[in-house]
């Protein structure tokens, strides 16, 4: 008697409050400190990027205090021209985050579009698959360097170049996930009831690959930060804006890196912090999404 009552109450409860998959994922994610803390760090970096002008003055003019070690006045020390490194790192957050957001948005848009189309329309799949394979088997950085050198250094070109060389990875991941989905019965059902291709893709295929896209966004963005820093380190960054890579580049060019550890340590830590946070978020999200690991 009591057992039946319990069962009824349980079913009623789960029926009323059946949480969506997204809510369940968020619920599990929220409870994982290895997901929440990196998320907070990323948010903090975002705030720093947006409000950079309020936090530190633009590191433009030359100062008299050249190559000062970190102190109360200059928390991160000063570089060879007497500029405050904390200001450089703060303003660099802006450029690094901007490049990350913009180039990853472009790469995701292109990669998702081609990945999903390839999986859904099998006729063009061969072409897309081959192009993706070819792109992935080439050394990307030397090619990026060539293009950046030709196109001339500006923030816009750097964003476009990084996006252009990141989409194949996105397309590969999205395509393999979409391939598993398009063969499921419910997609056939959608086709049988006369759904148009665009409707099926939007309503049935895209939501199924959405989790992969979330992970891709985070990883592509963090890789974009590394690519931008790499280009800037080789002197191919935008000379008119500060980025973490440019701080390292100037420290190397001026020789400051061999005597003043603070010129390279703080921008390096900023890069590491951002990329590690992004990676941890991706891992925690994957764990939270997977019911098996959610139980733990």
């Amino acid at each position: 008697m009591t057992a039946t009552a319990e069962i009824t109450s349980v079913t009623a409860e789960s029926f009323v409050e059946a949480p969506t998959a997204a809510a369940q994922t968020w619920d599990a994610f929220r409870r994982n400190p290895l997901g929440l803390i990196p998320l907070a760090i990323l948010a903090l970096l975002g705030v720093i990027a947006v409000f950079a002008p309020l936090i530190a003055s633009y590191p433009g003019g030359y100062g008299a205090d050249v190559l000062q070690a970190p102190s109360g006045q200059h928390w991160f020390g000063t570089d060879n021209l007497g500029r405050d490194i904390l200001s450089e790192v703060v303003w660099g957050t802006r450029v690094s985050m901007l490049v990350a957001v913009c180039s990853s948005a472009l790469a995701i848009a292109l990669g998702v579009l081609l990945g999903v189309l390839g999986a859904y329309f099998r006729r063009i799949d061969n072409v897309i698959g081959t192009v993706v394979d070819l792109c992935l088997s080439l050394p990307v950085l030397p090619l990026t360097i060539l293009v950046a050198a030709l196109a001339g250094p500006s923030l816009q070109t750097i964003i476009l170049i990084i996006a252009f060389f990141s989409w194949p990875e996105v397309a590969r991941v999205v395509r393999s996930q979409a391939l598993a989905v398009v063969n499921l019965p419910y997609v056939d059902a959608a086709r049988v009831i006369g759904g148009r291709h665009t409707w099926i893709l939007r309503k049935h295929v895209l939501p199924a690959v959405a989790p992969v896209i979330v992970v891709s966004i985070v990883l592509t963005a963090s890789r974009a930060v590394l690519s931008e820093a790499g280009l800037a380190f080789l002197g191919l960054g935008d000379p008119n804006s500060w980025s973490w890579g440019r701080i390292l580049y100037e420290a190397q060019q001026s020789g400051a890196m061999s005597s003043a550890w603070w010129t390279t340590l703080f921008p390096s830590l900023a890069i590491l912090l951002l990329v590690v946070s992004a990676t941890l978020i991706a891992i925690a999200y994957n764990d939270a999404r997977n019911p098996k690991s959610r139980q733990r």
């Binding site: 081959t130 070819l134 992935l136 088997s137 080439l138 050394p139 990307v140 950085l141 030397p142 090619l143 360097i145 060539l146 293009v147 050198a149 030709l150 196109a151 001339g152 963090s222 590394l226 820093a229 790499g230 380190f233 080789l234 002197g235 191919l236 890579g245 390292l248 420290a251 190397q252 890196m257 061999s258 550890w261 390279t264 340590l265 390096s268 890069i271 590491l272 990329v275 590690v276 992004a278 990676t279 941890l280 891992i283």
Partner: protein
């Protein structure tokens, strides 16, 4: 046709296709991007007829397709064009540099495997325990490292502060015979370790994941229930099958490592192709940049093909797939 011959031909075809793709992409990029080679060769404020003469000399006045065919023909003869700044063929500029890059990336790749396999095995066999957590955490951090940051850190601490190792160049100019080889080895340590640290993380994480998967499969259970020792099951049964996906990853990583070599060679003034790229960037020497990319792409394609063929010999499933 015997299956292995078919596999060989298919793999060779793919390598050629990749090379053609790389070459065509660079050709189109060079001709279509705003940084017009004509501008680089001949300044626009030059006398018009002189400029035309110079462009003609470089074959830049012909139609695009003719230029393309000519370019392909030259490449087949190993001709990568003329360096703008060094007035010698690009092939000469780069070929003297290539061995150093091969030495650097090759040793880094081998070291990654030699360190990565045991680490992956330890993590997989102790899944969930402290050692595993430690390996996983270091793996995630390792994956996120920025090559120049690692290089600068090693250079500063081991090279400048502790003065244990040389910080620049590839050999000691005053050393001869055996001493020379020793100096090469000493100069190799810092750039090589930088590359290994950066590539080790994802290798170990993949190794661990695939090994855990293999260990859960039935053939491993069978091997265990036959009473084979743990060591035998892991190294002879599970690891063999786990090596395949990690080797594929290694092939992909090779492209990444070549990119990392550009950055490490810049930091340590290592005289490889990467350093040549850095120098060409500062002087906008497009033919060298283009040649360096074609050369590095060729290296990656060839090494990938060799590892694939080796795997085809060892694993029948690869041949038939």
């Amino acid at each position: 046709m015997p299956p292995f011959a078919a596999f060989l031909l298919k793999r060779l075809g793919r390598a050629l296709l990749t090379m053609w793709f790389a070459i065509t992409v660079t050709f189109l990029l060079l001709r279509l991007l705003p940084g017009d080679p004509a501008v680089a060769v001949a300044s626009t404020n030059m006398d018009a007829s002189m400029r035309h003469e110079l462009l003609k000399q470089y074959g830049l006045t012909q139609p695009l397709f003719t230029q393309y065919v000519k370019y392909l023909g030259q490449l087949l003869h190993g001709n990568l064009g003329q360096s703008f700044t060094q007035s010698q063929p690009v092939t000469d500029v780069l070929m003297s540099r290539l061995p150093w890059t091969l030495l650097l990336t090759g040793s880094a790749l081998i070291l990654t495997v030699l360190v990565g396999v045991p680490l992956g095995v330890i993590a997989a066999t102790h899944a969930g325990r402290t050692v595993d957590r430690l390996v996983q955490t270091s793996g995630v951090i390792g994956q996120s490292l920025f090559v120049p940051s690692v290089g600068i850190f090693l250079l500063f601490v081991l090279g400048l502060q502790l003065k244990l190792l040389p910080i620049g160049g590839a050999y000691d100019e005053n050393a001869y015979g055996l001493g020379w080889y020793a100096s090469v080895l000493q100069h190799l340590v810092l750039p090589c370790v930088s590359l290994v640290l950066v590539s080790l993380g994802s290798y170990v994480l993949t190794m661990r994941a695939t090994l855990i998967e293999s260990l859960g499969e039935e053939y491993c259970l069978l091997a265990m229930s036959k009473g084979l020792s743990d060591r035998r099951v892991i190294w002879k049964h599970a690891l063999r099958n786990a090596l395949l996906p990690t080797t594929t990853l290694l092939g992909l990583q090779l492209g990444f490592m070549v990119g990392g070599a550009v950055l490490t060679e810049t930091i340590f003034a290592y005289p490889g192709v990467g350093r040549a790229i850095y120098e060409a960037v500062t002087q906008l020497d497009y033919p060298v940049l283009q040649g360096a990319f074609v050369l590095l792409a060729g290296t990656v394609v060839v090494v990938n093909m060799i590892t694939d063929l080796a795997y085809g010999l060892l694993d029948a499933r690869v041949r038939t797939a």
